[in-house]
């Protein structure tokens, strides 16, 4: 990480975050009241709550922040946003940091939400709409075939229930929902990604 060696409490990492992380320019506005940390439904699961992460960014703790799994605990409930007295878009900053860490390959390996998110995204851009069956199957098998079978069996009753209730369609596996203009959609996503990578200096 030599090109990213940052002096403690100097603003190099803060500037990096402001440049490359979604809504990152808000980080400096935190006044350390902690209302975000107290408002998170999964609070206990956070090794570093948002306001602490903001402080760590200002303290130049690049490694610790980007390799942390804390921001992956965000359920997108938006409690922190509506209560923040400085109106920081905390949810989005957490998403942004997670995405940034993920794109840099620094996010903790096998972090379940990260893996799920990737599967979800790939599933949706394939056809432009989410295929819940293939998505959930993929999810079961993300940890390998054997574990996948276990997971699937574990959820079998639910799966069957959903099928009975016509809320899970086995035919989906043969294609199912999707947008008509899939090429256009994929071109659009590719273009968007290209611009973003250029802007944020991600290697493809």
């Amino acid at each position: 990480m030599s090109e990213h060696a940052v002096a403690p409490y100097r603003n190099d990492f803060l500037r990096e975050v402001e440049k490359n992380v979604e809504e990152g320019h808000w980080v400096k506005m935190c006044m350390q009241c902690g209302v975000c940390a107290g408002s998170c439904p999964l609070g206990n699961a956070w090794a570093h709550p948002p306001q602490e992460i903001f402080m760590m960014i200002r303290a130049g703790k690049r490694e610790e922040v980007l390799t942390s799994d804390s921001m992956w605990m965000c359920t997108s409930c938006y409690n922190c946003i509506v209560r923040c007295p400085r109106q920081l878009p905390i949810t989005h900053i957490m998403h942004g940091l997670a995405n940034y860490a993920h794109r840099l390959g620094l996010a903790p390996k096998g972090q379940p939400t990260q893996a799920t998110a990737t599967l979800f995204w790939n599933n949706l851009i394939k056809k432009g709409r989410v295929n819940e069956l293939t998505f959930s199957l993929a999810l079961y098998f993300k940890d390998g075939f054997v574990q996948g079978i276990k997971n699937a069996l574990g959820m079998q009753s639910i799966g069957l229930g959903l099928m009975k209730a016509k809320r899970l369609n086995p035919m989906e596996i043969l294609g199912g929902h999707g947008v008509k203009d899939q090429s256009g959609l994929q071109a659009m996503i590719a273009k968007a990604r290209e611009i973003e990578d250029r802007k944020k200096g991600f290697s493809k």
Partner: protein, 742 residues
Amino acid sequence: MAEMKTAAYICSGCGIGERVSTAQMAKVAQKEGKMALVREHACLCDESGVQAIRDDIEKEAVTHIVIAACSRRAKTEAFNFPGIAMSRANIREGVIWSQPDDADRAETTQEMADDYVRMGCAEVKKMKVPEGNPNRASNKRILVVGGGVSGMTAALEMADAGYDTVLVEKSAALGGWSAQLVKRVPSKQPYADPADTGIAELAAKVSGHKHIKVYLNAVIAQTNGAPGRFSVDIAQESGATVTEEVGALIQATGFTPYDMMQLPELGAGKSPNVVDQLGLEKLVKAANGSPVKRPSDDGEVKSVVFIQCAGQRDEAMESGGRHLPYCSGHCCATSIKQAMYFKDANPDIDTMVMYTDLRVPGTGEDFYRSGQQKGVIFTKGKTASVEASGNACKVNFKDLILNEDATIEADLVVLATGMVANSGMNIDIPEEEVAKMEVKPVSILNLNYRQGKDMPQLKNGFADSHFICFPYETRRTGIYAAGPVRRPMDMTQAIEDATGAAMKAIQAVENASLGRAAHPRAGDLSYPIVRLEGCTQCKRCTVECPFGAIDEDEKRFPVFNESRCRRCGTCMGACPVRVISFENYSVDTVGMQIKSVDMPDEFSEKPRILILACENDAYPALDMAGMQRRSYSAFVRIVPVRCLGSVNTIWITDALNGGWDGVMMMGCKKGDDYQCHFVKGSEMASYRMSKVDDTLKQMGLETERVASYEVAITDIERVPQLIDEYAAKIKEIGMSPMKGFA
């Protein structure tokens, strides 16, 4: 003044008539009170009642009246007769509302009412209508000491109100510290950026103003006199001394930054790259728009750390603190401003403010946000040490959020040290201790006052002021403190404060010219009159006066400076030979009330308890107890006094000699958090009362017969309890043996 003609008016309204015999009271007023005219009225405060009194004043030439009705605190608009001496017997709140409406209390209630009538008559006959201080002086010029932003503002505001002003500045130029600032913290929205100081313009206005006379390189050699007639010797650089006659003074002598050399642990003196806030202003001024240079090697400053509370918010000296125990208030905003100097010039410069509590009250919060917006970083941390490392500094601190020790390197470290008041000498330090000091304190006002050369200090070396309800009230009438000499403050507040002080100074000269008292008895025309032929030169009055109003002449007789006097009567209380009095408040006006009551014999089981109650707090509390119909013993007789400090022990001995069974003294809290409106009055009283036990023993009386209480105006529930407990105590120790001898 015309021949005294007395009249008593007995009101039977508000239920008085149903509870007591007003006819009986009228008889008392006539027979015992010797009132020339006595009238009863069904509702004395209505048009007809007031008109009846007016008619008597006009047609019957009545000069002295007793109103036996409600409390002196009620119906003041109705009972307002200029030029007439008036005493008010408190029959409503003080008798019928404080006594239960029971048949078995009817007799004692009537006795109470009768006694208050007796007391009213006795008092009014000893009252004169005050004519105002004869030694009034009407010089309305005002002198300001100190030419910083506070002093200049005060001078300008007074001049703009049409008052001639003299401004004395010890340095060669106007402006003070504020002249050294590059910019100031903004005082107008959006409170986002440093603003121009406006000092040059202010100084120009002051120097050019037709009502302002400026002395530079000048100090006060001596200050004589009193409000309306101060004469101030101004020593100039040339050595020449000029004397200015003025009516009031404003001390706006500002502050000195706390000496950062006391903070070696924070790198002061260890590295040239560690400066205080004024040091930084100098660096920025020197850079004059170009990048700020690092003192050690003129390298460009790339990073700055601001350390808040440097040498401030320390433990109190008495508990081992080495630095300032207080918070100077402005420093957080000032550091934000200074960080902006760098950020506005070049956002790539790292600036960090290290704080434990960021203190930017009011709209300062906007300025804080603006600082963050500009990229100033704020770290809640406690600095352990600052060390020089080459051309940089290492700041070692504990990050209180991340809860770990950390270090940051910076080119420049700015210490936010506090404000130390330039308040002159602390006159409460005894001379022998002053003698021991290696650095002798230097007086600023050089007051030629018996009690010392400067204004008394209140706390932490800041100039005297009651700091909640009446922030300008010092113990030196006609001399007001303004700006950081009074309390640490920023420029915006100093401007406010100076304007307020200017107001008070103007008021002081106006009141002095009319021979009237200043706060809190503003408008009071009475003044202390001394019979020097009786004086024994004991100096108690000169020592005890809370306001330093009394000096001594070469023959060590007291010299009263009436316009310095606040009319509290502490001198009257102090005088062992009772030669000091006020026209409408004297040893006699109270003494005769005490003598006037009807004293039942020792077998009557009707003790008499005298209550001397402070009219500012204890008396209103008793009134409100009545308003809430909280009853208390019928054996007490209450006499309001201006301040317990005015209580002369003769009243107590006379009372006891006269057969009173007990005396309750009710005054305000004393000490650091004093609530006495005359600052030291209640303290003086308690000091005197500590000696009263001996007197009692000599008289062969139990010491319980005199008791002192600290009573607050809110003690509405407590006061009746105190009274009843004391009445029980008296019952227990028995009636006074002195009855019948008087």
